[in-house]
Amino acid sequence: MANVSIRNLGIQLGANRVISALDLDVRAGEFVVLLGPSGCGKSTLLHSIAGLNDAAAGSIEIGGRDMTYADPKDRGIALVFQSYALYPTMNVEKNMSFGLRIAGTPKDEIARRVARAADMLQLGPLLGRKPGQLSGGQRQRVAIGRAIVRQADVFLFDEPLSNLDAKLRTELRRELKLLHRQLGATMIYVTHDQVEAMTLADRMAVMQGGAIQQFDTPDAIYRRPENLFVATFLGAPGMNLLRGRLLRHDGRVFFDDGHLALDVTGYPFRQPPAEGQGCILGVRPEDVEVRADGPCRGSVTLVEAMGAHRVLWLDHHGTQVAAIVQDEGAPAGGAAAFALRPDRLSLFDEASTQRL
């Protein structure tokens, strides 16, 4: 159990400054999920915490000790590589146990741990195979296995479940959570799966362009995104955005996009809004209620069946608005009326794209 504290970190890869001036404080025993678009520097950040990249600037503290220049093996970390990096000449069992054997763990203890991991990852029948004889998902599970057999203080997972089927993924997600509780270890976890992120994370960090945009609980990030990027990045389909301006009228504040004037007086503005301020309104699809008495109207352009629910795409004066509906009774075409749940709105400054 160790905290991870990163200050002003800068990482240079080749000619690219991949990470710059990054701060991150992970509490001991916390489960933090890293989210961000492809190429934003998530893997680089994990590698830096693990000590595989030289820091160009800043410091990394693990368990209260400055580890900026420590050797990976002294950092008490375990890492699941995005590219697996399995030892190609060793079979699955050896791949998982190698680190333990080197560390001098007793034989039966190794056997026990490997057996447990293999069981959890459903790798039992494959223990004797070499990586070259495994499917993509099987390799990925070996990579996870190699990390979790170790008793690290900090576990770093780089998209560990991306190539697994939904069922297995759900199972493993639960197992990892369990493991987290049992070991009490700190975990930093990169994923693109928002369900995974939401269910696993104590806190979530959303990255973009080598910097952290928001670091907060999943709920807070989902409901109160700090800026437009975070707002649009999370959720599938993403948050609906309407461009307009804020108008004051009778001591009340209205959002006006030309077709719709929404009373947003109840919105918890951080600073009193300026009259006529350019502003973007965001609302999640599940907060768009399709009901006959809705104040807005749109024509249905597409209906996506998602199994458990459907997504209705409505054309609202040229802007596509997505709405999630539950029952099939929803209109399959033509026009529909809808409303936006007023307590679930987010407003962003048009210029800075920061939350108002």
Partner: protein, 301 residues
């Protein structure tokens, strides 16, 4: 693990200066330098011998620095030593050697690469049998094959010609070159080859555009081997090249290998070092081709 209890105590940073001299790094250098010194002892002896007059050499002080250093042996080796009627040192055959080595090397590497590539990726029927035979051929002393080869080349009128000697070098280089490339390609991810086939690549296209660029390290090794072998070859050159194309090693051999004539060790050493300069230059320049991570990022898992 009572980490919490210790949390208040400020722990010292775990520091390891990067780029600095750790004991491990020091060990690396100590090993390498020691090994290098050991490797250099014979060269040292050769060098000092080559600048001693014969009278000093006869004294037998092998490691002693020359008392009266002289460059005459070098001069003699390069341009004045007599071997038979010719008195032009070893330089006479220099260009012959170049003209023999260049095409022989390029061809044998090319053929070895194509063979290795075909064997590793395309695996035509019967190829492994052919390869086994080829490897067997590598173990037959070249000298035993001289007579039939001479007959064969004479039959196709290539005996005593530049193409003839090149052909002979290519033939003798084929087993090792093929082996070298075959095993190198065996270590590359097969998926790449599959991807290229999906992309519609034919035999040559895949070879030239994909495999060859990934082969630089092994090409360097192949070049090191072939340049050295061909450049230093003497017997094949003597037998097959014909009098107009005798390589420099024939002169070198004439200088250093006399049986009953007097031996000028200083000239011998100078001539040997001079002759090896071309391969040595290649060794030195080959560094930039020993690239790291040639297949980095190619496949996941």
């Amino acid at each position: 693990m009572k980490r919490d209890a210790m949390a208040d105590i400020a722990l010292p940073p775990v520091r390891r200066k990067r780029g600095g001299m750790t004991p491990a790094r020091l060990g690396v250098y100590v090993f390498l330098v020691t090994a290098a010194l050991f490797f250099l002892v014979p060269l040292y002896v050769m060098l000092v011998t080559s600048v001693k007059p014969m009278a000093e050499i006869r004294l037998g002080n092998l490691f002693a620095l020359p008392l009266a250093p002289t460059l005459a042996p070098w001069d003699s080796a390069w341009r004045t030593a007599c071997t038979g009627l010719e008195c032009e040192g070893i330089r006479g055959g220099f260009w012959n050697s170049v003209w023999i080595t260049l095409p022989s090397m390029v061809l044998s590497i090319a053929i070895g690469a194509v063979n290795g590539y075909a064997l590793s990726f395309w695996r035509p029927r019967g190829a492994s049998l052919l390869f086994a035979l080829l490897m067997m051929g590598a173990f037959v002393p070249a000298q035993v094959m001289l007579y039939p080869l001479v007959r064969a080349l004479a039959a196709v009128e290539l005996y005593s010609s530049l193409p003839g000697i090149v052909l002979v070098h290519v033939i003798f280089g084929m087993p090792t070159m093929t082996l070298l490339f075959r095993n190198y390609y065996a270590a590359l991810p097969q998926e790449l080859f599959k991807a290229a086939r999906i992309d519609g690549g034919g035999f040559w296209r895949i070879f030239f555009e994909l495999m060859l660029p990934m082969s630089t390290p092994v090409i360097v090794v192949a070049a090191i081997m072939q340049v050295t072998n061909i450049w230093n070859d003497f017997l094949l050159g003597l037998v097959f090249a014909g009098s107009d194309h005798l390589p420099m090693t024939v002169q070198l051999n004439n200088i250093i290998n006399t049986t009953t004539g007097e031996r000028l060790y200083n000239v011998n050493m100078a001539a040997t070092i001079l002759t090896s300069l071309v391969p040595l230059a290649l060794y030195f320049l080959s560094g930039r081709w020993f690239v790291r991570g040639i297949a980095a990022g190619a496949v996941k898992g």
